[in-house]
């Protein structure tokens, strides 16, 4: 069991086995389905910890692959690549999976689709772990699409709800736009390099045998996949709608793991991205823009889960900014801490929704006394994401700010600072609206059961402490683990004061506007100013897309439909009509009388004879002898 490659193989295979067994044996037995799924993910988690421990002792790159299928001159392999990055990711994925599955025991209790839910979670865990461990582009892409499929299945889990079915479809279609670029990028890169293997492609791109412009183009195509999956502008529109899925799904897939797959992909292919400075600048710029853009929208959302969805988009933008600005370790550090506190935020939101039966922040208020555990853990998560010293979000966010500052991209740095303020503002708004003041309608009668609160307490502890692994307090932090050449992070007191000052300002502004001192009636009413309407309508991006699709796309389809109906179908109909009419004519010659037939045969033979004779005489020109 100590062979790391074997361990790495078993990590994704356990949930796969659970998925298959659930469908074979436990489709109608909720307890058995949950036991299978939880058992498998627990084993996976233990093995992942083993894998990470091995990497922590001696960071190496381990690879094992078997031939899968030959594709022309290329050989597609199926294999695992274990390095510090993937070891870290498998622990994040299995840990969040485990906690969310425990939480789901309470949240999904009594749902008629309970076994189905757990089987999908297992399938998702398998796909995500395969994505993390894949050693080549094809396997990565297959796993990439598999997590997309699981996302679709789980967003549309309550498929009886039309909004859920629509949201699932939207998520699938929108990410498809990015995946198209991703696939083209993968294929061009692989065909140019003659291999699908990450490390060999990276070596090939790094060798400088491809013109710089082409490298940039291909890398940006690959990045399209990350834009779609990680909800970066302009393909972010699917993620808020994805909140129609059950809340544990939002916590697992749409905050901590799958949407981070785009960030992970950029990190996994970092040597390839590094080959193009322009591409990295695009990554950083888009990340910074998305971070500020989504944070602005989050301020004006009234659905508690949508606030969190835009917050996720914004934080993913931070990670992209870090990677683009050269802060490889910082980006992944934030991915790690974000997985902790964002999962906690979603689980807290789920706990609230479970108790109240509504997502509407304007109808909540005063939950603090009724749900003490949820309130305290949420407070921790809010402070962590706001980046208050010394919680986990502070350390990773400051690492990103540091990377953005030293990259020299002033606009991106300013955007990231603004986002610090906005993040604190919208997160504390959520907290004040939901947990403080007086109730504005929705009443909670009880705290959630222990299966739901215990994961939240664990995650709250994680949100407090996890930042220490990347802080300057430890000798060799997460950045050094992931990137041995990285310098030891240092504590910049000026930056600390600046970011914490901005975050505190955000909290104070939100306290002034949404605090418990406000009358419930004024909080329950939505403001009507123009800026508010723009933000509440998400900068009208969805409407713009609809306009473009209705105007341009549907217009084009109408033209094509006309062409198809009249020209293509017309040609087919002419051919068909000609044979029908010709047949009707020839039909008259067949009267059923033998002698008539004999006459036709004789005439035909004679005609052929005459033609042959004429041809022999050379009547038809060159053919004659």
């Amino acid at each position: 069991m100590t062979d790391p490659v074997l361990v790495a193989l078993l990590v994704p295979l356990c949930p796969l086995a659970a998925f298959v067994l659930t469908w074979l044996l436990a489709r109608r037995r909720p307890a058995a389905a949950a036991a299978l799924s939880l058992g498998a993910i627990t084993v996976s988690f233990a093995l992942s910890v083993l894998l990470l421990a091995g990497q922590l002792q001696a960071p190496t790159e381990l690879r094992a692959a078997i031939p899968w299928m030959p594709a022309g001159p290329l050989l597609i392999q199926m294999g695992v690549l274990v390095n510090p990055l993937s070891a870290l990711m498998v622990v994040i994925v299995t840990a969040v999976s485990l906690l969310v599955q425990v939480y789901s025991l309470g949240y999904m209790k009594g749902d008629p689709g309970f076994p189905r839910f757990f089987s999908y979670l297992s399938l998702f865990s398998f796909s995500m772990l395969a994505l993390v461990l894949a050693d080549n582009f094809i396997l990565l892409y297959v796993a990439w699409e598999l997590v997309g499929l699981c996302s679709y299945l789980l967003i549309g889990f309550w498929y009886q709800k039309p909004e859920a079915a629509r949201a699932a479809k939207k998520a699938f279609v929108v990410t498809r736009v990015g995946d198209l670029g991703f696939l083209v990028g993968i294929l061009v890169l692989s065909v140019l390099a003659g291999t699908f293997d990450f490390r060999e492609v990276a070596r090939f791109v790094g060798s400088g045998s491809v013109p710089q412009g082409q490298v940039t183009l291909v890398v940006l195509l690959v990045f399209c996949g990350a834009i779609g999956k990680s909800g970066q502008f302009p393909l972010h529109v699917w993620l808020p709608d994805a909140m129609e899925g059950p809340t544990p799904v939002s916590a697992l897939i749409h905050s901590a793991t799958m949407v981070a797959a785009g960030v992970f992909m950029v990190a996994r292919l970092y040597p390839i991205f590094q080959a193009s400075a322009e591409a990295l600048r695009v990554v950083a710029g888009l990340g910074a823009f998305t971070a500020a853009f989504a944070a602005l929208i989050a301020i004006a959302q009234d659905d508690i889960k949508r606030v969190l969805a835009y917050s996720t988009i914004s934080q993913l933008g931070y990670m992209m900014l870090a990677l683009g600005a050269g802060g490889y370790g910082a980006g992944l550090f934030h991915l790690t801490t974000h997985a902790g506190f964002k999962t906690l935020l979603f689980l807290g939101a789920g706990s609230v929704i479970h108790a109240l039966g509504t997502n509407d922040l304007r109808a909540m208020g005063g939950l603090g006394r009724r749900m003490p555990v949820t309130t305290v853990t949420m407070a921790v998560a809010v402070l962590a994401i706001a980046g208050i010293f010394p919680l986990s979000g502070f350390w990773s966010k400051d690492a990103i700010l540091e990377a953005a500052r030293s990259s020299g991209m002033t606009a991106a740095y300013v955007a990231s600072l603004v986002t610090v303020f906005l993040t604190a503002l919208y997160m504390s708004r959520l907290f004040f609206l939901a947990f403080t003041g007086a109730s504005r309608g929705a009443q909670a009668h009880h705290e959630s059961p222990a299966v739901m609160t215990v994961p939240m307490i664990i995650l709250a502890a994680v949100s407090v402490l996890l930042g220490l692994i990347g802080s300057p307090l430890v000798a060799r932090g997460i950045q050094g683990f992931l990137e041995p050449s990285a310098p030891r992070p240092s504590l910049d007191l000026g930056l600390l004061l600046l970011s914490n000052g901005l975050a505190l300002a955000g909290i104070l502004v939100s306290l002034a506007v949404f605090g418990p001192w406000r009358r419930p009636a004024s909080l329950a009413r939505a403001p009507s100013g123009f800026p508010y309407r723009v933000l509440a309508n998400r900068f009208y991006v969805d409407e713009l897309y609809l306009l473009v699709i209705r105007g341009v796309y549907l217009g084009l389809t109408r033209v094509i439909a006309w062409f198809d109906r009249h020209v293509v179908d017309g040609a087919v109909n002419v051919v068909g009509g000609a044979s029908t009419r010709g047949g009707a004519l020839l039909r008259r010659t067949i009267g059923g009388k033998v002698q008539g037939y004999a006459l036709i045969v004789t005439g035909g033979t004679l005609a052929v004879l005459v033609l042959l004779l004429l041809a022999g005489l050379g009547v038809f020109g060159g053919g004659g002898r």
Binding site: I590, G591, G592, K593, V594, Q595, Y597, A598, T602
Partner: protein
Amino acid sequence: MTGAPPSPGSISVAPITLSHYLLLAALLFCIGLYGAISRKNAIGILMALELVFNAVNITLVAAGRFRPAPDAVGQLFALFVIAAAAAESVLGLAIILAIYRRRVVVNADEMDLMKH
């Protein structure tokens, strides 16, 4: 076209060549074909078909006779054709009889069973 070898004892008459036989056969074939197409009586059609067969037989026998090294192969073929034609005539007559018993016609104009 090979000329026929001079037969012993012939003096004044021009020799009968292969062309003569083929012409005769073609004539016979055309008469037979005309009869087969134009006769109304089914038995008449059968008889006309016999003419066609015999035209073929003449061709076969003549071709066998006029080969560079004459042998009996042509005649052998002709014998087979005669045997097959006899069998075929029996079949044809049987069909005509069957139709006559069912529909009381031997008139080919009224036999349009193949249309249905």
